[in-house]
Symmetry: C2
């Protein structure tokens, strides 16, 4: 293998405060929800409603409406406002197991639906000389799950599909399109939401088994 290629959001980086913030708003409004259930329903919803490169208040209100209903809660204007204020603009953080990536002696790159700030963000959170290329939707004017976006990535990396292992958290956006181009793709599933998935890892320490 020549390259490890990574998705960014919820693969390399996440918003650690998100769950406690949502749970706090719900609890303040009389709803006691289990964190595991919240994560599961949030994830399933995120797989159906794709996040745009730049999220707006309108997008979050629509998404949070669906999330509340998925939890059995009737959304009202006030609850949506509280959720938006509690959860928007939360800081990103790198997953702890990003340290495992650094141990792997192979070139690395990122292909992500994200805004143009991604490179700076990842360099700050993970390190400056970890990734050789950053291929970002907002810059390329292409988005996952488009096969053209993955083809563009291969071009920029000057690599063949068979020389790459790609790792992402979404079957729909990451694994399925990458596989269509012949790229070996692994699903990172740290929260055990997809125990039946094939080619699944739950921690970056498992990547070495596929090299």
């Amino acid at each position: 293998m020549k390259y490890l290629l990574f998705d960014a959001a919820n693969t390399l980086i996440y918003k650690p405060n998100l769950w406690e913030r949502i749970l706090k708003v719900l609890q303040d409004n009389g709803y006691k929800i289990n964190e595991t259930e919240l994560k599961l329903r949030h994830k399933l919803l995120s797989e159906i409603i794709n996040f745009p490169d730049t999220t707006s208040r309108g997008f979050y209100e629509e998404f949070n409406s669906e999330l509340l209903m998925a939890l059995g809660i009737i959304p009202d204007e006030n609850l949506l406002k509280e959720l938006f204020e509690a959860c928007s603009y939360l800081p990103w953080q790198a997953f702890d197991d990003c340290e495992e990536i650094k141990k792997l002696d192979i070139k690395k790159a990122v292909v992500s639906n994200f805004n143009s700030s991604l490179q700076e963000k990842l360099e700050g959170l993970i390190g400056e000389n970890i990734f050789d290329e950053y291929i970002v939707s907002e810059k390329e004017n292409l988005r996952k799950p488009s096969l053209e976006f993955y083809a563009r990535a291969l071009e920029k990396l000057n690599a063949e599909a068979g020389e790459i292992i790609y790792i992402g958290d979404s079957l729909k956006l990451d694994v399925i399109p990458a596989k269509k181009l012949g790229i070996k793709a692994l699903l990172i599933d740290r929260d055990n939401i997809y125990p039946s998935a094939k080619d699944r890892i739950t921690n970056f320490s498992e990547i070495k088994n596929y090299l």
Copy 2:
């Protein structure tokens, strides 16, 4: 209260073989899925992707693609074909607790997104003199969650919102629009998918507590 008003699909009637059929196809293809997880993900998906009055093969293939991905399975043509063949045109059956409805000395009616066969179907499965009115989307040219559809129901029942208790299995299609018109609405949640929901029952025997 003057009327009990019911949703039909997955409130009064269901397809009891559906789960075993899906699980069998998945097992034959090497996927061992837990029935509780299947029901949960199927339900959450059904709340986002609305079922049309008349379901086509194309609709089911799109729905089943999303369902497979929600279970961590990559959909392929063959799997979708097997699922369609195993699961389409399964017979409806009344939930056992429909017997509880018959004990309640109050007028009853149905308002449902369904094709025009609904009245005949429910009379065959539940009984001939149980429901006074059948208000069906395909006939009215109106669909849930449209408030107009609920307003039409009130008109046909010659009743005020305050005289009605409405029972359905969907927050989005049933409870939320009915409440907007001032109808008292109960969520029927036999599979305990929404333990945090308010005005929730898990069996029709609980309706009497609200009369």
